[in-house]
């Protein structure tokens, strides 16, 4: 079909032997999760920015507001370690997956247990603080505390629920490697953003 006049240009326009097979550059599930986590990071960045602005707008002696309870730094510090341990267990589960899907189940269960303990202890802390008079309405201090920590808690609970279902599928050998990677990535996000929030909100 090509004419003789400009064979050279025509040849240059044809790619040298396109590869027949099609490959994913980054696995679908993983890429989708990376994008989702990016949006989530921006959500938390927005919350933290809002917190920083309101906090900076307050007089120095009004933050935390007088008469309001102080946040339990040590207790939550211990809790933070629990959550980090959970992240470590999840990472270990990911390594074990290479040896077989069922090998990954115990570390993942341990991770879920630690994560659930974290959520439960945070809930206990909330109940105490509410009892002591720190509520969402009592001051911007309280509002931001419950907003930021609560947003993280929603993520943690949602991740735990999804991961529990995924663990069942993992045990049945139905969970694909990439889906497992994507889910673990979300858990790492939940774990790793927490120390940053702890630093900003508690310290």
């Amino acid at each position: 079909m090509a004419g003789t006049m400009s064979e050279k240009r025509d040849l240059r326009l044809i790619h040298p032997a396109p590869t027949r097979e099609q490959r994913q550059i980054v696995p679908n599930e993983v890429l989708g999760m990376i994008l989702f986590i990016g949006a989530e990071v921006m959500l938390f960045a927005g919350l933290i920015s809002a917190y920083a602005v309101v906090r900076a707008g307050m007089p120095a002696d009004a933050w935390p507001p007088p008469g309001q309870p102080r946040l339990p730094i040590a207790f939550t510090g211990f809790n933070t370690l629990l959550l980090l341990a959970s992240g470590g267990a999840m990472w270990f589960g990911g390594r074990k997956f290479a040896e077989g899907a069922d090998k990954a189940v115990p570390p993942v269960l341990a991770s879920l247990g630690l994560g659930a303990a974290f959520v439960a202890l945070q809930g206990y802390e909330w109940a105490n603080l509410l009892g002591e008079g720190l509520s969402m309405q009592s001051s911007p201090y309280g509002s931001f505390f419950y907003l930021i920590v609560g947003t993280h808690a929603v993520h943690a609970v949602a991740a735990l629920l999804v991961l529990s279902v995924a663990t069942l599928r993992l045990r049945a050998g139905e969970l694909t490697e990439h889906a497992f990677t994507a889910l673990r990535a979300f858990w790492y996000f939940v774990v790793l953003i927490w120390p940053f929030l702890y630093w900003q909100v508690y310290l």
């Binding site: 004419g3 099609q22 938390f44 309101v54 907003l147 694909t176």
Partner: protein, 573 residues
């Protein structure tokens, strides 16, 4: 959506075969995971919302031209209703017309077809995206029907007005408005993830980065921008919802909050959002211009770089919406620089589109007319952005009708002309029939002339000091002169003409859908992959054994020494 665990793979056709049995109507059109059906759902919902959001300006422009009259088909407009109408005109047109039609409808419809895939990589998430969007449509419509009526605090929803029912007097409307917007964001977040993943991983064999059609690139860049900017606004929306309903004081200065903070979070999203809808429209225009001028795109990579440059810069310009909002005046200097600089990549992109015409053989068919009018009109919007971005003149022009005229000269080309360009161009592919060319051209000329009749008077009114969102200018001595009123009437008459002309389009659209001339596979002789399949494409887009392979770039028109003046991407030689 923390489980994108769909095991569907781009070419895993075996899994699909059991779908080929006869599906009932509900499953086929409401529960489908086919990207074409979802794209069509988005398109039709967007068109419906365009009628909804297009009726509002008719009502409030009638009120402005003839204050106090009983508007035909509506009645007398009260200040509350006026505020709700202008607020929701903005919200609906951007979030329920421009976004769903340009990004979701054409993104869904075109991306798999243009990159030679059989569907999106996460088809079920895609369906979920539309379902969330459909709920948001119901919520925004419901916000008008609740006691005290729809939200009327401007589409920017600045607190404390939006946060406190004592101030805005629409306790239900403002909450529903916020919920609808938040749901809509979730829908597009899910959709955007799908678009980017699909475009990256499902490209046909042989399709390199530089073989991807421009519109796919643009939709992906827009989705990235959207996802990177929406987070802070979601954070702000949650805080605003808590302020409205839980008695918190995030934005209430009396209890230690900060009202400027919302503007901070809102415009961080709000300005990139402009480019989120602009880029897909420019992508559509690029496709149409190349096809109808029979020319390769002038500087494919440069256009891509200008789009990326625009995207990067769009994160640096947002505070120009706050020059006079009580932010630190020193910040205005920095944002003036970035805002004026963003004109450079956009101007360059327009130059490149115009340069594409050089040496072509231009056919003035309806889609081409729309695409060309996009360039001509968008340039007016572009150049009038400079006096607004320049802090010194913005002191006067801020919140005046000059702003309104400016952004309508950007958004009208983007949302309306961009959508018409795409609709008229891909109509044969979507419905397998051609639209009526004569009706299409009549509709084009009426619309393209009427739109100038609306917005050029508004530039003058804005320069004369008329501010936005005021339901009756007779309260201001300097604004109630007969000269200015004549301009308002001119704008209103043009608007009515423009709206009436849209019925021509609707007739053409639905008539051609059923009775139009049958379209061939490739009626415009385009090079991109969507023209290599049937019109309309069947389930799976191509027969399973005939998925295309790509051998060259998307715009090889007029290659010397060939019999045909186009060379489709999938033809080996």
């Amino acid at each position: 959506m923390s489980e994108p665990a769909s095991t569907h793979h781009a070419h895993g056709h075996g899994a699909h075969d059991d779908h080929h049995h006869e599906e009932n109507f509900f499953l086929k059109y409401f529960w489908s995971t086919d990207h074409k059906v979802i794209g069509m759902q988005y398109l039709l919902t967007g068109m419906f919302m365009a009628l909804f959001g297009g009726f509002f300006p008719y009502v409030f422009r009638m009120q402005l031209a003839f204050p106090g009259i009983s508007v035909p088909f509506y009645g007398v407009v009260s200040p509350t209703e006026y505020n709700a109408l202008v607020t929701n005109h903005g919200t609906v047109m951007i979030f329920w017309v421009a976004m769903p039609v340009l990004i979701a409808a054409f993104g869904n419809y075109l991306i798999p077809l243009m990159i030679g895939a059989d569907d999106m990589v996460f088809p079920r998430l895609n369906r979920l995206s539309y379902q969330v969007f459909a709920v948001s449509v119901v919520v925004i419509i419901a916000s008008f029907l609740v006691p005290q009526g729809g939200f009327g605090g401007a589409w920017t929803a600045y607190p404390p007005l939006s946060a406190n029912p004592d101030y805005n007097l629409t306790p239900w409307g403002s909450t529903l408005w916020l919920v609808a917007v938040a749901l809509e964001f979730i829908a597009f977040l899910i959709g955007g993830i799908n678009f980017i993943t699909t475009a990256m991983n499902s490209r046909a064999p042989g399709m390199r980065w530089s073989d991807v059609p421009m519109v796919v690139w643009m939709i992906c860049i827009a989705s990235i921008l959207f996802m990177a900017s929406v987070g802070p606004l979601m954070a702000g929306a949650v805080m605003l919802a808590f302020d409205q309903n839980l008695g918190t004081h995030f934005f209430d200065p009396k209890a230690g909050g900060d009202p400027i903070l919302w503007q901070h979070l809102f415009w961080f999203f709000g300005h990139p959002e402009v480019y989120v809808v602009l880029l897909p429209a420019t992508g559509i225009v690029a496709e149409v211009i190349t096809t109808f001028s029979r020319k390769k795109l002038f500087g494919y990579k440069t256009i891509l770089y200008t789009a990326i440059g625009t995207g990067v810069l769009s994160f640096f310009v947002w505070a120009h919406h706050q020059f006079i909002a009580g932010i630190d005046p020193r910040m205005a200097n920095v944002f003036t620089v970035t805002t004026v600089l963003i004109s450079i990549p956009i101007a360059e992109m327009m130059f490149l589109f115009i340069a594409t015409l050089y040496g072509g053989s231009i056919r003035f068919k309806t889609p081409m007319l729309w695409a060309l009018s996009f360039i001509a009109l968008f340039m007016i919007g572009g150049v009038t952005g400079i006096p607004l971005g320049a802090s010194g003149s913005d002191i006067y022009l801020h919140d005046s009708y000059y702003v309104i005229a400016h952004f309508h000269y950007t958004f009208f080309p983007i949302a309306i002309i961009g959508s018409f360009t795409a609709l008229t161009y891909w109509f044969p592919k979507m419905f397998g029939r051609m639209m009526n060319e004569t009706l299409g051209q009549v509709h084009f000329w009426i619309t393209a002339i009427a739109v100038n009749g609306i917005f050029i008077p508004l530039f003058v009114l804005g320069a004369a000091g008329q501010h936005r969102r005021i339901y009756n200018y007779n309260h201001f001595a300097q604004l109630s002169t007969p000269d200015l009123q004549a301009l308002r009437i001119l704008a209103t008459v043009s608007l009515v003409i423009l709206l009436l002309a849209q019925f021509l389009f609707l007739f053409n659209f639905f008539y051609s859908m059923f009775f139009g001339e049958k379209a061939s596979k490739n009626p415009w002789k385009g090079c991109t992959l969507e023209w290599t399949t049937e019109s309309p494409p069947g389930h799976g887009n191509w027969p399973a054994d005939q998925l295309p392979t790509v051998y060259r770039g998307p715009y090889e028109y007029g290659v010397e020494g060939r019999d045909e003046d186009y060379w489709p991407q999938n033809v080996p030689n």
